[in-house]
Every structure is written in structure tokens, then in C-alpha cells.
Symmetry: C2
Subunit: 409 residues, 2 copies
């Protein structure tokens, strides 16, 4: 069951001026399932994205990269679940293009104004015969208030829909940031089986938006892992509609930029954490922090070694403070010249290891008191520098195996 | 249940002239459990070893490294299960030394003639109060014929004891190679929670033996993964007692060296595969072969990405030919400039993917016929070079979670 995660209250997801969302049912995987989402952007909107590093990237990812790189004027996003359109070769590309063409013709746009997204099973042909007839209904459904419905429509094995929203003041203007995401398995950065769409009505220059999408992804979606598998389809899209009326943000050192980045990061972190809280079979939410490293990269490397260790994750599932597995993961993370005698490890506030072994003050009862909770923090101090990194993950339960063994049945 | 793996027939494990083994019960984890193994080597034996790359290496690993590097004359090995003596700091080293001292005094040796090995739970103090009193009984039990008993005594979560044996002719001399190993979880190379002891009565120079242990490990124990976790205690020891009467092997190009290496590799591969066959919760044995790569390293990188993917492993547990997960793992393995359109993938003899997508000739029924078997081969052709690599692993089942959630209870 998802860990401390509830369906967002629709009223909590503020509409973003300049954006309308429409949902429809194509019945791709199950009859009647609302599996098509259309997002319409007002003219003048700017869009930036980061995508999976997987070499077997999906056809829609290729198209998104191509269109964003070409500086296309993006006016619509079309998202289907139930089929990833990945590992589908030239035919998959043709079908993604065809979907965009139909959206474009329906909305009076050019195909290159449309970005496609798919998530679901890999290596099966995209069922355009089901998708294309459903698009007009999605257009009919367009509404500024449909963020929560869209959060539901993009789910795959997610149990809980994921949405987050903030409002901030930029000078005299109220600026909204609202986002939705999906993802619960095959979650590992750069990136995860995740789709994330975060929009603001702020006016931001294209070059700054391109920078923002990377900076925000690095502190949010690129800090979460469920099972270490990096998917073929991951996409994180940042949209700035420019409807708030603020002066265009062009300076990364300005207070307004910093304030907007903070709000975007908060929303994205909430969405990213929601993916770990709703990780397949999750019963625990874990925060792994590594500090005192020489640089961010080595801190993250150790944090991920702990976060993706099946042995650590099954121990936490059992509420077992099996600290040895944490030490082992630190040890095999591959960080050179690591002096294990200088490392200290805490479980929650309990010092569990120092001087290369168990802390003298540690007792099993203290450790067990931490691990029985639904939220567990592991903190590792390397004592060799000033960098740090944090990663979020979940435990590894019977249900993870069940969900993934039965995914296609 | 272990996949096509049965307890070795004691008669199949040929004694190695110059070696005696004795077992005793210290009751470290469970009262009455036979958990102490003593291996006595005839004077003049040569020993070489490779050990875990984990920075949090166990105390006995540190001692073994130190004594082998110093060129100590090794005359005895002492192995306990139930406690890894890892993450135990200076006190752990002192206890490992103390164990060796008692063995040495009992056998008329110096402490540096003894190598210690431990496997079991990490971060708990080695219970020397239980181990030391049990050592005399292990000495009393010493016998050339106790290989099978030793294979049982070094088990932890293993279900089936692991032993293998060969005899070859070197000139007019019959040479024996016999080995035992343990390991079934926290199995990932460089190395695994594994202990492997392979002995021969051949006469081999020390420098050639040092080379042999690395070459043999690279084609056997370093080709297996269960869960990607590299343990703190892994040790692979090669012993040459020099009792066979062959002319000392000093030339790595000689036919005799090549014959001996082949026999040692066969025994070690059988033991390494046995670890995957007996992988925690295993229901399938998988062989992942990647060929046509630019070098061995990139082939191994891709083979391991497939072999350690929880998504691939849970799909195989379900006998589900979810090929997309294999393609995704190839794609995120991190090999640069990979042209996915040039890759071909087979499941058993069935071509499943080419041209970046599913093979036209592929049907779900053909794939399912392969994945319902207990032994599954995945073959990937990269078509960009002549190198190849093979990795063995097992699937990921409910029982993996159960075994590791309940390990300490």
C-alpha cells in the first residue's frame, strides 16, 4: 500500500492559466479505461523537457526530442497509457507521428506543434486503431480544471494519482505551479518509468526554461529509485504559459527566478517522492542521505547503492534493522579510497555504526524502533568533504514480485 | 527450489592427496549445527586467493590478504558459518586472530600459517566463546574423505551443498581437482557472498598459482549474480598440494598448464552455476550471453544489466516472455554509442527482436515455450565486434523476498 500518500484533493490543484486538459477512453489495455490525456497550451507557451537515457528509447521520446530541439512551437501534448510504443522500430515512429497528425488536424495545428507520450507495456504495436477514434472526445473534454482527472488518466501500475500545486508571488503577480506525474515501477533515474508534467503561468525565457528543467529534475525526479530499472519512456516536461503577466524571467540570479525555481522544485519533489511512496508493493518510504563526501556524485553513488540493494529493501520490508546490509552496500558502491573507519551511519536519529563497526551505544531495540515506522531515514556521514546527496526509495515486498510477475496477465 | 541441482554424491568428490577436512559444531546460530570446518594442508602446499572488492571487507578477509601477501606458508584454513565477522572493526580483527592462534597452537603451527573465513550475519561480534571450544573436535574429525561434509558445513541460506570434482592426466600422473563452495544470496561478482575452495594435488609454482586463481575466478565465480549485492566476505581460494608428483608447472603456455586450468575452470564453473541454481528463491536458471561486442567489458556490462534487472527476473519467475524488459535493460546498461537497430536478441533459439523492435517471425507462443522451461538462455548479438561474455543468474520470486525478510529471525 502506498506510504502516507493520498489522492490529491481536486481543489488543491490550481488551474494554470493558459492550459486545458481533456481525458478520453480508448480502452487500450482495458475496455472503458480513461487512458488518453490531451493537454492544450495557449499560443506563446514555452516548453522544455528531459528524457530517458535509455538507448532503447521509445518512439514518442524520439519525436519529443526532435521537436523540442527544432524549437517547434508546442501547443498540445497527447498521452496514452497501456502501451509504451517502445521497441517498436520504424513502425512505432510512424504511429507516434500519425497520432500527432490527427491531434494537429483536430485542433488546427501542425503535427510538429504536438508532443506525444506513451507509457505501458513495451514491444507491442501502438494500437492507433483504438487511440485515434478516442481523440475527439478528449478534445471535447478540455477544461482548465481537469488536472486531477489527468493525474488519474496517466496512471499505469500506480495505486494513487499524483498531483501537486503551489502559488507564489512574483512582484505583484500571483504565479501558479501545478504538476502531475505517474510512475511506480521501473523507476530509476535518468530517468524512471515516469511521466511528469509541471506547468506554470510565469513568463520565462526559453533558454532559462531549458536550464530550469534540468535543475529541477536533478533535485526531484533524478533522486528517486524503486527497482533500479531505467525505462524507455521517461519524460519530464516543464511548461511556462506566460499568462501571469510577470516580466519575463531572463536572469538565473534574479530573486524571481530563484523563487520560481523553488516552487517548481517543491512541486516536482512532492511528485517524485509520491512515486517512491507508491512504489510497486511499497510498505515503507525511505530517505537515504549521504553527507560529507568529496563531491555530489560520490554521495549519490553511495545513496543509490543503498537505495537499490534488494537486501536492504527486503530487510526494511521486514522492519529488520539489518545494518550490515547497509554497510555492505556502502562498501560495494565503488567509491575509491573510502575509509570505512571514518564513516558514521544513523538510522533515524540512532547512531548505528562508527569506527568500521557497530556503534557501542547501539542496541537492537533502538534500531527496531526506527525500522518499524512507515518512514525511515538512513544517514551516512563519509567525513571526507562537504558535499551531500539525498535519494528516496521504498522497500521490496512480496507484492513487488506479484505485481511484476503478473503485469501482462 | 534449486534448479536442476542435487546434493553431490560423496563418492563423486575425489579426495585430494595432501588435504584433510574436519567438521565440528559450535552452535553459532543454531544449537547442534555443524558450522565449523577445518582444512589441513600438507607441508609444501601452495595457496592463492581472490577476495571481495567491498570496502567494508570482513576481518578474516583482511587477515587472509595480509598473510597471502606476506608469502606465509599456509597449512590450515578455518571456516565458520553463522557470523560474517564483518563490520566489526578492530575487535573483529582481534577475534579472527584469536581463532587462528588457537588453531595454530592445536596443530603445532604458527598463527600466520592459518587462514580464517567467516560467513553469515554482518555486524555482530564473532562468538569466539562458542567457536574456540569446538576447534578440537574439528581436528579430531580430520579426514581426506570429508569434502561432502565440508560442503554441507559451510552452507548458510544454501539449500543444496555444492561440490565438484575432476581427474585428469598430466603426463603419467593422475591429478585431482576437487572444490566446494557456498553462496546463494548477496551474490554478485567481485565477488559474491560466496566462499569457494578448490584444491588440486598438482605441483604448480606460486606465481603461476597466483595467475590461475584470477583466471579461473574470471570465468566462473565472477560470472554469476543473484541479486547484485557484493558481500563483505567473498573469498575464492585455490590450493595446490604438490602431491601428484608431476613436474612443477611453471609455464603458462604449456599443455599441462592448459589442461589443469581447464579442469580447475570446469570445477569452478560448476560451483558458480550451482550458486545461481540455488539462488535464494530460485525457480529458473538463466544464462545470459552477449556476443559481437567491441570488448569483453561491454558485453559483460550488458549481460549484467539484464541479469540483475528485477523486472526481467520477476517476468521469468512468471514464465512471461516480457521481452521489452530485456530490451530496456540492454538500453540502460550504459554502453556508449549502442545502435539498437543493429541488435538481435534470442530467447533460447527463438529470434525475438531485431531492427529495434520485435522480430516479424516472433509469436508469443514461441516465446512462452522457452520461458516455461526451468533453464532459459538469453542471447544478445550487438553486431559491432567480436567479443562476448556470459553471465549466469536466477529469477526473482516471492521466496527471495521471504528468505531475505526473515533472514535474521
Amino acid at each position: 500500500m502506498p506510504v502516507n500518500l493520498t489522492v490529491p484533493d481536486p481543489a488543491s490543484l490550481h488551474p494554470v492559466p493558459g492550459i486545458r486538459l481533456g481525458i478520453a477512453s480508448a480502452g487500450i489495455k482495458k475496455p472503458g479505461r480513461r487512458d488518453i490525456t490531451l493537454i492544450e497550451l495557449v499560443p506563446g507557451s514555452r516548453v522544455a523537457g528531459v528524457f530517458t537515457q535509455n538507448r532503447f528509447c521509445a518512439a514518442p521520446v524520439s519525436l519529443c526530442r526532435e521537436r523540442l530541439a527544432a524549437g517547434s512551437d508546442i501547443r498540445a501534448l497527447v498521452i496514452n497509457t497501456g502501451n509504451a510504443n517502445a521497441g517498436t522500430g520504424e513502425e512505432g515512429l510512424a504511429r507516434a507521428r500519425q497520432t500527432c497528425e490527427v491531434v494537429a488536424s483536430m485542433m488546427g495545428l501542425k503535427p510538429e506543434n504536438v508532443l506525444p507520450f506513451s507509457t505501458g507495456v513495451i514491444l507491442e504495436p501502438l494500437p492507433v486503431d483504438k487511440i485515434l477514434p478516442a481523440l475527439p472526445a478528449a478534445k471535447e473534454d478540455l477544461s482548465p480544471g481537469h488536472w486531477c482527472e489527468a493525474a488519474h488518466a496517466i496512471m499505469t501500475t500506480d495505486i494513487v494519482a499524483k498531483g501537486a500545486s503551489r502559488q507564489i508571488q512574483l512582484g505583484s503577480r500571483t504565479v501558479t505551479v501545478t504538476g502531475i506525474a505517474k510512475g511506480s515501477g521501473m523507476i530509476h533515474p535518468n530517468m524512471a518509468t515516469m511521466l511528469g508534467f509541471v506547468a506554470t503561468d510565469a513568463t520565462v525565457s526559453q533558454s532559462l526554461l531549458n536550464q530550469l528543467v534540468k535543475e529541477v529534475a536533478d533535485v526531484s525526479f533524478n533522486c528517486v529509485t524503486v527497482d533500479g530499472d531505467t525505462s524507455t519512456n521517461d519524460s519530464f516536461i516543464l511548461i511556462a504559459t506566460g499568462q501571469a503577466g510577470n516580466a519575463e524571467l531572463v536572469d538565473a540570479a534574479s530573486a524571481d527566478y530563484i523563487a520560481l525555481k523553488a516552487a517548481l522544485s517543491e512541486v516536482s519533489i512532492q511528485l517524485a517522492q509520491a512515486m517512491a511512496r507508491d512504489g510497486e508493493g511499497a510498505t515503507k518510504f525511505m530517505t537515504i542521505t549521504v553527507e560529507g563526501g568529496r563531491d555530489h556524485a560520490e554521495c549519490k553513488q553511495i545513496a543509490y547503492a543503498i537505495a537499490r540493494s534488494p537486501l536492504v529493501k527486503t530487510a526494511f520490508f521486514a522492519s529488520d534493522p539489518n545494518l550490515g546490509r547497509i554497510l555492505a552496500a556502502i562498501g560495494y558502491a565503488g567509491v575509491p579510497d573510502l575509509d570505512v573507519n571514518a564513516i558514521r551511519v544513523w538510522l533515524g536519529d540512532v547512531l548505528v555504526a562508527e569506527h568500521g563497526g557497530r556503534a557501542a551505544s547501539y542496541t537492537e531495540a533502538k534500531g527496531a524502533a526506527v525500522t518499524k515506522e512507515a518512514e525511515i531515514t538512513v544517514r551516512v556521514a563519509l567525513n571526507r568533504g562537504r558535499a551531500n546527496a539525498t535519494v528516496w526509495t521504498c522497500d521490496f515486498s512480496y507484492d513487488y514480485v506479484k505485481i511484476n510477475a503478473e503485469y501482462r496477465t
